[in-house]
Symmetry: C2
DNA sequence: CTGAAAGCGCTAACAA
DNA sequence: TTGTTAGCGCTTTCAG
């Protein structure tokens, strides 16, 4: 049997109420009594039942986080930020991996609602799906009704506190960087089209192209999931399709890793033959060879901000936090040099031909 | 106000007990009644209070995990495995980052005890410290007393279910690999000495050396924390100390990344000038340049096994799971070739001299 | 300063 | 098949 407050009370020769007061320290208790109670607590190894407490108090001191997968460094960094604030404020965080399945996310929110979490932070990325959106609205309402709230990381069409990275802006800037380097045939390794993140980053890419008077070429855009292997596959297909390009913009850094592998495997050297950029700036990106030029998404900061919103009562100002996304130039991009003496359109074959170095 | 089972009962025109029975589906309820109850549940957006439930049932369906930091890919992979099993069995996992602070770990176990978690999984690595060990014993006992249990990942001197990777064996094998390649001056980038992981891996390293009749040279072992930056620093110091070495065994892959950066910065090319190996086989390791030769620790599997132990009642057989740790040879190691025409002792300077490529 | 008693939301006998 | 009742372990009035 687990020891209860009654056991402690008995051993200390006081009432349960007194034990409670000692433990919570919010009422005056005689020094001697306090001592006897603490001794009893210690002797018995007593730890108060948080569920019994949560049943009374309105707050549970717990925040739920729904993400794709902790093993994805992007989310791991966000969780790190969340954890930091949780630690600083004595809260607990419960993690749920949705693997980007909308139905599972709804199920998790409901589960977390049952746990009476103080808030749920949703980070996996919005998926265009009417059924999901409706269910999400319902859950958001339910959360609010029980004195909790929803906080989202990213662009979601819901009334909720949010911290949103500048996906479109970052994509615009990194594409512009490539353009400024002289690249004109810039491929884009996109994510699954149903995600708002995918769309925003693609939009920024196309906007930059247009700003340079370039008509976006659909043949230069290939999709896959957000993973390393997915991008390895889509980049391989792109290369094999013989479409000419001199630079690649991967929708995120993990995908850039896959692209790098695909490029290299086919004898294309980065940045000599092809410039490569990503998005996110994962911790590992600076240690790739070459170090990756990318867009800095302050993931840890995102997590911190999200958690700060989560522990602030809903309603009120400043509940939409916008985060910047600036380019960091490293070694994976270079000025586009006209290969050989030709007209420069079909660069791919030329580059690949001299890629054995 | 949050809606309770009473509200649902009233709306459906039944008693609270009936609602409970419908929701739990463990007692016969008339079809019509069930329908009315479900309607009421839906209309009200009712979600049962898990705390009230946990107060009655012995199990909370929640498992606590204490780790260093989710943003560390080693732990992220472990958590991934834990999450998988949690998902499969309808459980929730709450994460606590200890940042390897023993005191904080104890505090967390206590906090989780209050939450009446079904088990706590401890993964940050054992620290030699009598006070910590005593407190840990006490907590393990407390956990057991309340019908919960402790599960550890790694070598801990406590009576608890455990999943332990073969640190010493893996280190022995990877060092032997280097030795077989002809290397004799093998440096070791160790972790903080107070961790059992550090000691085990170092022990394997020294055992392999001894097996080859080589007396371990303390000058070849430098310590830092387990991070990329830590190893970058210790490796830099090692190089600057002018101690001769032709291979480096980093205590983990993150540290190998740091070592690679340090080596490269000083004009030492891997594996031409120096062979480099790590430990863990993080997902990124195969994508480094060169791809890292390392020891495969099945981290995700570790997490799965730990979770399986966590959801199995304590006591009984097979509560210590041993995991293998085999070498995977990739591009970061090469046969040691006598540099120049000299006697081959002071390889470092020679190699570095020709390292401009 | 301390104790008695009510009640948080739910489930599990026990009746009906 | 369903309702009534008694708690689960704790906090919090309300008395004293």
């Amino acid at each position: 049997m687990t020891t209860t407050i009654g056991d402690v009370a008995k051993r200390a020769g006081v009432s349960a109420a007194t034990v409670s007061r000692v433990l919570n320290g919010n009422y005056p208790v005689a020094e001697g009594t306090r001592g006897r109670v603490m001794d009893a607590v210690h002797d018995l190894g007593y730890v108060a039942n948080a569920h019994a407490r949560a049943l009374i108090k309105s707050t549970s001191g717990t925040v739920g986080v729904i993400l794709h997968d902790v093993a994805d460094p992007y989310f791991a960094e966000i969780v790190r930020g969340i954890q930091q604030v949780a630690d600083e404020t004595g809260r607990l965080v419960v993690l749920c991996s949705s693997l980007r399945d909308p139905a599972r996310e709804i199920t998790y929110i409901e589960l977390l609602r049952g746990q009476r979490v103080d808030a749920v932070i949703l980070t996996s990325g919005f998926v265009e799906d009417d059924e999901f959106l409706m269910a999400l609205h319902e859950q958001a309402r339910g959360l609010l009704a029980q004195g909790s709230q929803l906080v989202v990381c990213g662009q979601y069409p819901v009334r909720a506190a949010a911290v949103v990275p500048d996906n479109a802006g970052g994509a615009f800037r990194i594409t512009s960087h490539l353009l400024a380097l002289g690249h004109r045939r810039i491929a884009h390794l996109a994510g699954p089209s149903r995600f708002s993140t995918t769309q925003e980053r693609r939009r920024g890419y196309e906007a930059a192209l247009s700003a340079y008077g370039i008509q976006p070429d659909p043949a230069l855009v290939v999709s896959s999931d957000f993973s390393r292997d997915g991008a390895y596959g889509s980049c391989s297909r792109l290369i094999d399709s013989k479409v000419a390009f001199t630079a690649v913009f991967a929708a995120n850094d993990m995908m850039a890793v896959g692209a790098l592998a695909a490029l290299r495997e086919r004898g294309l050297e980065v940045p000599r033959d092809v410039s490569l950029v990503g998005f996110d700036d994962l911790p590992i990106s600076r240690d790739l060879t070459p170090p990756l030029t990318t867009v800095v998404v302050p993931m840890c900061e995102m997590g911190r901000r999200a958690m700060e919103l989560a522990i602030t009562p809903p309603g009120g100002q400043g509940r939409i936090v916008h985060l910047t996304a600036d380019v960091v130039v490293r070694g994976s991009t270079a000025v586009f040099v006209q290969p050989g003496g030709a007209d420069g359109a079909g660069t791919l074959q030329t580059a690949s031909g001299s890629g054995a170095g």
